[in-house]
Every structure is written in structure tokens, then in C-alpha cells.
């Protein structure tokens, strides 16, 4: 995979560099870094830190999409698991809190996987059920209020630092390495791609497609749970109405920017995470720019369009045709 990265990831890396350069223009101190209370401090760190929830979501989402599925429920799962973590934080130890939250994410993933793999529902509809119901479940857990906590262990998970890096960033990196090791260190990745490429042919060839599909939704649920715990730890409270709201769309966007097709098949974990970073680099840049907030979504749409055009084979074909024309004119 690493050998393939430079060739496949060229458009994404280029996009990231261009957006970083634009950020440097709108905000001259963008690359400044200093130590603050033993933790690196600067806009670049903000990008990594704020990009963590979407990066984690995209790690699960990219596997689901590789099987030709989609998971719309990740935002709601974040809210549920954040609510569980916040409710337990002050009365239980961190291991128990994490086990409960991640366990809930696992159950949510199992539910989605069951609907898709066993009952054969369309993924977009099957996960829509939990997307709608999940936020209600989270609101039931928090009783509609923002549940705050002061447990230093859980707060550390959101605001602490390891080797001067924010803990969420380290967790996301760890999850990327773990997921990569599991799916690329074995034939699992290939089997997932096969399932997405042609489920029937794979089934006939002896791939346990049902188990594949079930397990990617479970993994997606666990990743969302982790993102939810981090989001709650970050603000020292669980906001069931807003935690993870619309982040499922950002996660899908990150996967698509990372070059994985919504029609399933070949996928790249690293590029999906890079996609999440591209989105966050843009968001942070918009916040730093000082433009009126009415422009936020417009700017985001234009940049996303540009990044996707960069990747489009038709568009680069057009560019290739246009290049010699321009040369002859000159």
C-alpha cells in the first residue's frame, strides 16, 4: 500500500499543500508552533486535533464504503456513546467508562450490520433508522440536557497530551495503524474489496461476504464510539442535540476525497484520513480568515468541488488535451 501511495495519493497531497498554502496567506501565523503547558500550540495542531473525530469516523466509513455500503448513523452513534461516557464518568473509572461507550458503539454497529448483511436491507435505509433513532436515544440518556463531568481521566482523553501532541491525535494515529495492520497485514482488506467489487462472485469464490459486511459495520460503530467519547471529553460534557451532528456527511466526504468509490472495491485508509485532514485544514482556514460566517459553506463547497475535479479522470483528460493546445497557441 505504501508503495502505491505516491501514485494514488498525488491529487490529495497536492490539494492539502494548496489549502495549507492558502491558509498561510489568510493567516500569516498559521505554521507557528510553541509549547503551552507542555503541549504543542498552534493552528496546525488545531487542524489535527479538530480533525480527529472525522478522521476516526472515516476509518470506519472507508471500510463500509469499500463493501459498497454506507453508514449514516455514525453521528448519532457518537452522540449515544458520548452521552454514556459523560453519564458514567464521575461515578466509574476510565476503563469501565470506555468499555461501556465502546460496547455501545459495537452494539450499534452490530445492529446496522445485522440489517444490511442478514436482512439484506439497503445500507442507506438501514443506517438511516439508527441515524434518526440514535439521537433520540442519546437525548433519553442525557434527559435532554448537557451532562457535564469533571473526571480528570476522561478530560485527559480530550485535552491531555502525549509527547506534546494532543491525546485525540495520538488515539487517531493509533487507530489508523491498528486498522491498517489488521486489514492490510492480512488478506482481510482484499476480501473486503472483493465483497464490494462483486458480492455474488466473491460469495461463489468462497469469501464469507456476510461476515465481512457485518464486521465492517461493527468496526465503523466502534470508531464512531471512540470519536463520540473524544468529542465529549473535549467539551467536558455530552451535548446529545449537537454532538456529531452532520459529521456522517463529513466522514463520507473524507472517504470520497480520499479516492474511494461509493460503488465499493478498492479503498485506502491513509487517503481517507488525509481527506479528513483536507476538510479540517479548510475549516480552520475559514475560521482564521475573518470572512463573515455567511461565506463558510460556500467556500467549503467550492474547495470540495475543486478537489474532486482534480481527481476526476474525465477532467484530467480534458486538462491533458488542453495543455498541448495552450502550448501551440503560445
Amino acid at each position: 500500500m505504501t508503495a502505491l501511495l505516491p501514485r494514488r495519493g498525488i491529487a490529495q497531497i497536492l490539494a492539502l499543500i494548496v489549502i495549507l498554502a492558502v491558509d498561510r496567506v489568510v493567516s500569516p501565523q498559521f505554521f507557528d508552533l510553541r509549547l503551552q503547558d507542555g503541549r504543542l500550540f498552534g493552528s496546525l495542531i488545531d487542524v489535527l486535533n479538530r480533525g480527529t473525530p472525522v478522521a476516526l469516523l472515516s476509518l470506519g466509513m472507508v471500510l463500509v464504503i469499500a463493501t459498497r455500503g454506507i453508514d449514516l448513523s455514525v453521528g448519532a452513534v457518537m452522540a449515544i456513546c458520548g452521552a454514556i461516557a459523560a453519564s458514567l464518568a464521575d461515578s466509574h473509572g476510565l476503563p469501565m467508562v470506555l468499555a461501556a461507550a465502546l460496547g455501545a458503539g459495537l452494539v450499534c454497529g452490530l445492529w446496522n450490520g445485522f440489517l444490511v448483511a442478514v436482512l439484506g436491507m439497503q445500507p442507506i435505509v438501514a443506517t438511516l433508522i439508527l441515524m434518526v433513532a440514535g439521537r433520540g436515544i442519546a437525548q433519553l440518556i442525557t434527559e435532554g440536557r448537557i451532562v457535564t463531568f469533571s473526571s480528570p481521566d476522561l478530560v485527559w482523553l480530550g485535552n491531555g497530551s502525549v509527547l506534546s501532541l494532543p491525546v485525540p491525535v495520538v488515539i487517531a494515529l493509533g487507530m489508523l495503524i491498528l486498522t491498517g495492520a489488521v486489514v492490510r497485514g492480512s488478506a482481510l482488506g482484499l476480501l473486503i474489496e472483493a465483497t464490494g467489487g462483486n458480492a455474488r462472485a466473491s460469495e461463489l469464490a468462497g469469501v464469507g461476504t456476510r461476515a465481512m459486511i457485518l464486521s465492517v459495520y461493527v468496526w465503523c460503530g466502534v470508531c464512531a464510539a471512540l470519536a463520540g467519547v473524544i468529542a465529549a471529553a473535549d467539551i467536558m460534557g455530552a451535548d446529545a442535540n449537537n454532538a456529531g451532528l452532520w459529521l456522517e456527511l463529513d466522514a463520507i466526504l473524507a472517504v470520497v476525497i480520499g479516492g474511494t468509490s461509493l460503488f465499493g472495491g478498492r479503498f485506502s485508509l491513509v487517503l481517507a484520513v488525509l481527506g479528513a485532514l483536507i476538510i479540517q485544514t479548510m475549516n480552520t482556514g475559514i475560521l482564521l480568515s475573518g470572512y463573515p460566517p455567511e461565506f463558510n459553506l460556500l467556500v467549503k463547497a467550492v474547495v470540495v468541488l475543486a478537489v474532486l475535479l482534480l481527481q476526476s479522470p474525465k477532467f484530467s483528460g480534458l486538462a491533458a488535451i488542453a495543455a498541448p493546445l495552450r502550448r501551440t497557441k503560445a
Partner: protein
């Protein structure tokens, strides 16, 4: 059950229902929107308290954010022949026919917290609402008074783009500080009324304003964003409440906790007590026939660290915010 027994039973039931009313107790139906926010939950619990204080029988119908449920609730209140109806309208239009039914049944309607379309003006007795432009003004006036004559760079955390409350709170604040040339809003960005976005946006403000050293005050359109912003300032090694002044709106319990810790300076209350003034207006209307003004504006009270924030926090935290 023979028809006779049934008749006797229903007559007794009717008598029981009629008894409180004959004893001079008012029965009021309240069509509440639902549990859309912590503030809404607090409004419901304060309404119950205020009704109990005045020995009013308050029947609350939860509409789960749906207008059709509110219309159904109002029709059932009319059928029960209540003395008055309180309505917190989920949307501003579509109330004509059901409010006309209430008018024909001679049941006065009081709007709480939100207004309806002006075309329905003569269909209700009065509206008890807060003036969100005024809330922004109170916040701006406090800041101007506190800062005095020294130059002050303000950063603003706006509410959701397109929300009328956000636009009004911005307008009121801008009007208040326009009179003072030393006050200037240097950055303004939306934090979507949430803690997480408030924190993220404040982080970027701090970086954009040279590590936050040039920021003199933060104004947030609600307390939740301010709670997030306070965390961002602390993580950046700044001292909110001391180096950087804070003023926000709503007066939710958590901002009082921050105030008690010396990390927040002021908040303007959006009072959850809309039912109190409404109940007083109805009582006066029923007893003496006093027609209240068309709009009863609730007080936008300013709270600062001088108001014993810990005590207010303790009194507010049980209200369901």
C-alpha cells in the same frame, strides 16, 4: 353496569371535575413545544412552580415539536372549557382557525416566549416574550461601562447563521457599542450556539489575534458557546474573567459555575419564567377585566460575579437546563 349507575357515576365525575373551578381556582391549559433545549425544560418546570404558587391548576401538553399536536391540544383545552390557554407556538403561522375557535369559546389565549404572524394579532390576549435586541444591548452596555475609556478589541461568537435570535442579539450589541469609539468588534464568526463549535472558533480567534494577547473581551450570543470559549482560553494559557472579559446571554447554570470560579464576568438572563407574568395578566383580566398590553416584555436581567453566582447555580441546576 346499568344505565342508572353509569349516569350517577358520570354525574359524580362531572361534579368532581367542576369542583375546583367553583372554588375559584383557575384552570389553564399550556401547550408547550416539547423538549427542544435545556431552556425549554426549565421553562416547563418554572411554569409549574409559578402555577403552584398561585394555586392555579396548570395542564401542560407536550407537543413534541409538532404544530398539529399543539392544535390538537388547544382543541382539547377548548372542549374542557379551561379558563385560559397558554401557547408557546412552534411556528409563527397557521394558527388562525384554532385561535378563532378559542375566541368564539371566549377563552383568552396568551402566547409565551414566541410571537405569531402579525395577521393573528387580534386572536390572542397578549404575548409574553423577551426582546432579543434588548438582550444584546444590555450585554453591550455592561461591557462599555466595565471597560471605560480604554481601547478594547472584542471577538464575537455568533449564533447559527440565519437564526433571528442571533441576528437580533448581534444588532442590539452593535447598537450599544456604536456609541463608544474605543470598543471594536475585531472578529466575528458563528459557533452555532454549541459548546464544541464555540471552543473551536475561539481557538482560531486566539491564534488569529496573536495568541489572544490583543483580545480584551469575548461576546457570545449564548452561554454554551461561552463555556466552550472559556475552555479554549484556559488551554491557551489565558485567564478568562481576568485578562479577557466575557459577556454572554441566556443565564444557564453552567455559566454561573464559571462565574463562581472567576472565569466568566457577566450574563444576560433569558428568563424561563414566562408563565409568571402571563398568570398575573390572566388573573387581573378575569378578576377586574383589565386588558393587558399586547406585548409583555420580560426583564433581561444582567448577572455578574457580584450576584453570588454559586447560589444562583444551586437554584437553577434543578430546573432541567
Amino acid at each position: 353496569m346499568t344505565p342508572k349507575v353509569l349516569f350517577a357515576a358520570s354525574a359524580m365525575a362531572a361534579l368532581l371535575l367542576a369542583l375546583p373551578a367553583s372554588a375559584g381556582q383557575l384552570t389553564i391549559g399550556f401547550s408547550q413545544i416539547g423538549s427542544e433545549s435545556g431552556w425549554r425544560a426549565a421553562e416547563t418546570s418554572v411554569s409549574k412552580q409559578e402555577a403552584a404558587k398561585r394555586q392555579v391548576n396548570l395542564k401542560i401538553a407536550d407537543a413534541q415539536q409538532k404544530q398539529e399536536n399543539q392544535i390538537k391540544a388547544i382543541r382539547s383545552f377548548i372542549a374542557q372549557n379551561v379558563d385560559a390557554i397558554f401557547l408557546a407556538p412552534v411556528v409563527s403561522t397557521g394558527w388562525e382557525s384554532v385561535l378563532k375557535e378559542a375566541k368564539e369559546a371566549k377563552i383568552p389565549v396568551v402566547l409565551l416566549d414566541r410571537d405569531i404572524d402579525p395577521s393573528g394579532k387580534d386572536l390572542y390576549l397578549t404575548a409574553v416574550t423577551s426582546d432579543s435586541v434588548h438582550e444584546g444591548e444590555v450585554a453591550g452596555d455592561w461591557l462599555a461601562k466595565t471597560v471605560g475609556t480604554k481601547a478594547c478589541n472584542i471577538v464575537e461568537l455568533q449564533g447559527t447563521v440565519g437564526a433571528s435570535v442571533a441576528a437580533n442579539r448581534k444588532k442590539g450589541f452593535d447598537t450599544a457599542i456604536a456609541k463608544h469609539a474605543n470598543l471594536k468588534v475585531v472578529r466575528s464568526q458563528t459557533g452555532d450556539f454549541t459548546r464544541a463549535k464555540g471552543k473551536e472558533v475561539m481557538e482560531s480567534f486566539i491564534k488569529a489575534e496573536g495568541g489572544g494577547k490583543s483580545i480584551c473581551a469575548v461576546y457570545a450570543h449564548n452561554d454554551d458557546m461561552m463555556v466552550g470559549a472559556i475552555q479554549a482560553m484556559k488551554e491557551a494559557g489565558l485567564k478568562p474573567g481576568k485578562e479577557i472579559l466575557t459577556v454572554s446571554i441566556d443565564a444557564v447554570p453552567d455559566i454561573f459555575k464559571a462565574m463562581a470560579a472567576g472565569e466568566a464576568n457577566a450574563t444576560v438572563e433569558l428568563t424561563p419564567n414566562m408563565a409568571g407574568p402571563a398568570l398575573d395578566a390572566i388573573a387581573a383580566f378575569k378578576d377586574k377585566g383589565t386588558v393587558p398590553p399586547k406585548w409583555i416584555q420580560t426583564e433581561s436581567k444582567l448577572y455578574t460575579a457580584a450576584d453570588d453566582p454559586q447560589k444562583i447555580y444551586d437554584s437553577k441546576k434543578g430546573l432541567g437546563y
